[in-house]
């Protein structure tokens, strides 16, 4: 079970949101991922400039994929024009999604409402650093 968070180019997200979502889904499907949930956080101000962008639209995706697919996924996301930045994190225990940001429903076709499965006690860090490389550089 993986969790991906994307910052999508704001200008493109406003004008061609459906295309942007489809683009991301296509990349995921191409690599044999099964999308469980897609959630739009909406437009937010970035804490600092990322590739010249001051604002961005956040998109959260939960998906299942083979671990071997992750490096190619990560590279595809990096090459994408829509995506300013992405983070993929392994998460065995997907909780009820964030109450932080009021959630606007993503495009109806996008949401695959799969119930969250209860996972027994998990020791220590359940999130394994899939993106160790990325975070270490930080």
């Amino acid at each position: 079970m993986y969790e991906a968070l994307f910052i999508i180019d704001n200008a493109r997200a406003n004008t061609e949101w459906d295309a942007a979502i489809k683009h991301i889904q296509d990349i995921l499907h191409k690599n044999g991922a099964e999308i469980l949930k897609t959630e739009k956080w909406g437009e937010k101000k970035l804490a600092y400039k990322v590739k010249g962008h001051k604002r961005g639209t956040y998109l959260l995706v939960h998906f299942n994929a083979k671990s071997t697919a992750i490096p190619t996924l990560r590279r595809d996301f990096q090459l994408s024009d829509y995506i300013v930045r992405s983070l993929i994190v392994k998460d065995d225990k997907i909780e009820e999604l964030s109450q932080i940001v009021p959630v606007e429903g993503a495009a109806p076709a996008v949401v695959v409402g799969k119930e969250v499965v209860e996972v027994p006690e998990i020791s220590l860090l359940t999130e394994e650093v899939v993106s160790a490389k990325v975070t270490d550089n930080v």
Partner: protein
């Protein structure tokens, strides 16, 4: 004279909440564990146990990477 006694029985804030791990998306709570400059609070300052301090560190660094929290404010 009356130095504030450190209560050894008290647990860290996440232990008290019974939190397993800390979500990097929860920026409102993570922000409380950073200085106004955006630096991480020390373990002594935040009162976290080793396990949760590790988790906080990782979460804040992830949040910074995704521009949810500043590197330098």
């Amino acid at each position: 004279m009356s130095k504030k006694q450190f209560n050894k029985t008290s647990k860290c804030r996440f232990c008290r909440m019974g939190a397993d791990d800390i979500d990097y998306k929860d920026t409102q709570n993570l922000q409380k564990l950073t200085t106004s400059q955006g630096k991480l609070f020390s373990r002594k300052r935040s009162g976290n146990c080793a396990r949760h301090q590790h988790s906080v560190k990782l979460s804040i660094k992830r949040a910074r990477f995704m521009a949810l929290l500043p590197f330098v404010a």
